[in-house]
């Protein structure tokens, strides 16, 4: 077993991340109440250091640890960095919330860090069980985070719904894994749950057996739950609404990006040879997701629910990338993930900023925001336009790329539906924008914006624009990541 542990050092980033989480968790016990906000700083600095370390450390390393359980490649590196960065943003965006409501921020931040560990595992997993464990780690942290507002009935309710359905989904997923395992193992491929083995199997048989299909359907259901694909999406609006706002943001971005990282790798490295067989299914799911998400978003009055449905719609676009899986689609998918992440975070941070100042989260409450705080209004507008896919913002180029990839895979019909769906999305984004700019405010007092949140908002807005104006560097990086999973 020498060879198995020989390159354990490649997991330094994960270990350090776990260590950071423990530090934050325990430091909470020793810090006096007024110093607890240092924890956020520690987390952010730690994560930042980790980003630098990880990048430098893993930049040119490729390895498959433990017979393919954990894959160290550019793909996982990209996502590791992304998740770490996301962690920084998450901690940053939570700062005001934590300061105001929590007496033990260490637990909160530790949960965030643990969840990032889960994401990292998901993105680098090359095997179903490992991926599952990573997924559960993420989910558990999120269950806790969602229920973090303990005395808030909505938070309780959201937590209950989330964990019940989450557990149900993981049961489905596990059953699916077991069935896939049962099929693949029969042909005598070693380590039958690794993606590589599955791919070998799929490439070898000319027709997938029904039990494999059922297993895969269940896996799709389990992962579909995680990314909120229709019809596995129904928890999303309720949980988004009930969760504390920074957590909602995190849910909308973090868990989705991580799940897509997993899905992308799974489909690219395991299921790709049978793309003919599942393409249509995923395409239909994608179509249903984007249409339903955007349609129902039309009917929302609460900004969190609205953004929840909007993010469901976005998932539909992302699924297109899976349905059209190819190097180009993978590039597009990752690009859209990043662009969507930044944009959606910007939107949520804007909402957080608003919520922190007013304690309200109905769309109608945004009336006159442009007068009360033009910066928040501007940032929210930018992010909404970006979500709608308008230039010069990130959403334009990322969506363009994604739709292009779908078109390249001869799925122009899906592109057509996507285009229709994004038209619908524009409508409800405009309704929000209208509230901010056109309607008169009931209360006209200017809203304060802490520099912490304001700075973050500015950063994210800038990012949204930058990606939209000059995506080339990002695309170059993404291409190397794609090469890792789709040589």
């Amino acid at each position: 077993m020498e060879n198995l542990t020989a390159n354990l050092y490649l997991l330094w980033p994960e270990f350090l991340l776990a260590g950071l989480a423990f530090v934050v968790l325990t430091a909470d016990f020793f810090l006096p109440a007024e110093r607890k906000n240092y924890l956020a700083l520690v987390s952010i600095l730690g994560l930042a250091a980790l980003i630098i370390f990880t990048t430098a450390f893993l930049l040119n390393r490729n390895a498959a640890l433990y017979g393919g359980l954990i894959l160290i490649d550019r793909f996982s590196l990209l996502f590791k960095v992304t998740f770490l960065g996301l962690g920084i943003l998450m901690v940053w965006s939570s700062a005001d919330f934590v300061k105001r409501y929590l007496s033990h921020p260490g637990e909160y931040y530790a949960m965030v860090l643990f969840s990032i560990l889960g994401m990292v595992v998901m993105a680098s997993a090359g095997e179903l069980l490992t991926a599952y464990i990573g997924l559960e780690l993420l989910s558990f942290s999120l269950y806790v985070l969602v229920s973090h507002a303990r005395e808030d009935l909505k938070s309780n309710e959201a937590g209950t719904k989330y964990i019940l359905l989450g557990a149900f989904a993981s049961a489905l997923l596990l059953y699916g894994i077991s069935m896939v395992y049962g099929v693949v193992v029969q042909v005598g491929i070693p380590a039958p749950t690794t993606f590589e083995a599955i791919a070998t199997y799929v490439a070898r048989v000319n027709s997938l057996p029904v039990s494999f299909l059922v297993g895969m359907a269940l896996i799709i259901a389990g992962l579909g739950f995680k990314v909120a694909a229709v019809p596995f999406h129904m928890w999303t609006p309720d949980v988004y609404e009930g969760a504390p706002l920074p957590v909602t943001a995190y849910l909308a971005v973090g868990s989705k990006v991580a799940a897509f990282a997993l899905i992308l790798r799974l489909f690219a490295q395991a299921f790709l040879p049978a793309i003919e067989e599942w393409q249509t299914i995923i395409a239909i799911l994608a179509a249903a997701t984007m249409v339903l998400g955007n349609l129902v978003a039309l009917a929302q009055r609460n900004i969190k629910r609205l953004l929840a449905y909007s993010s469901i719609g976005q998932v539909g676009y992302l699924l297109m990338g899976i349905a059209a899986l190819s190097a180009s689609a993978s590039n597009a998918l990752i690009l859209h993930l990043v662009g969507y992440g930044v944009t959606n975070l910007a939107a949520f941070v804007a909402v957080i900023a608003f919520y922190n100042a007013t304690g309200k989260d109905e769309v109608a409450d945004f009336a006159g925001l442009a007068d009360r705080n033009p910066f928040i209004a501007m940032a929210l507008t930018v992010s909404l336009f970006s979500l709608a896919g308008l230039p010069i913002f990130a959403g334009f180029i990322t969506k363009f790329y994604l739709f292009l990839a779908a078109a390249q895979a001869d799925m122009l019909w899906l592109t057509g539906i996507a285009v229709f769906a994004s038209l619908i999305s524009l409508y409800y984004y405009l309704i929000v924008i209208r509230q901010m700019y056109v309607e008169e405010a009931q209360v006209k007092t200017p809203l304060s914006l802490s520099w912490v949140t304001g700075g973050l908002l500015g950063l994210l807005t800038l990012g949204t624009v930058l990606i939209g104006v000059y995506p080339k560097p990002l695309v170059d990086v993404i291409q190397t990541a794609t090469k890792a999973i789709l040589p």
Binding site: I133, I163, L164, A171, Y175, Y181, G182
Partner: protein, 102 residues
Amino acid sequence: MITLVHVQVLSAGLFCIGLYGVLARRNAVLVLLAIELMLNAVNVNLVGIAAFVDHSKFLGQIIAVFVITVAAAEVGLALAIILRLYRNKGTTNVDQLNLMKW
């Protein structure tokens, strides 16, 4: 002779009974118990496959160990959350969880 089909059909039975429990019960704790049934079904499946067709013989069992671990943790956390809900709302019936809908 026990065959894999026997085991897998049993597993399917457990799974579907669990599924029924999830879909038909209105109490959160009962739903949780039903999910445990489904997870057990998974394990039966895994162990059966490991026993019958896996040359290494133990991968299924390894997975099952993890599943049990996760399941246990899940029950603990879920009960904590349900308890918190009960304390605040005075009920554990899921059909009273309707603060948020539509």
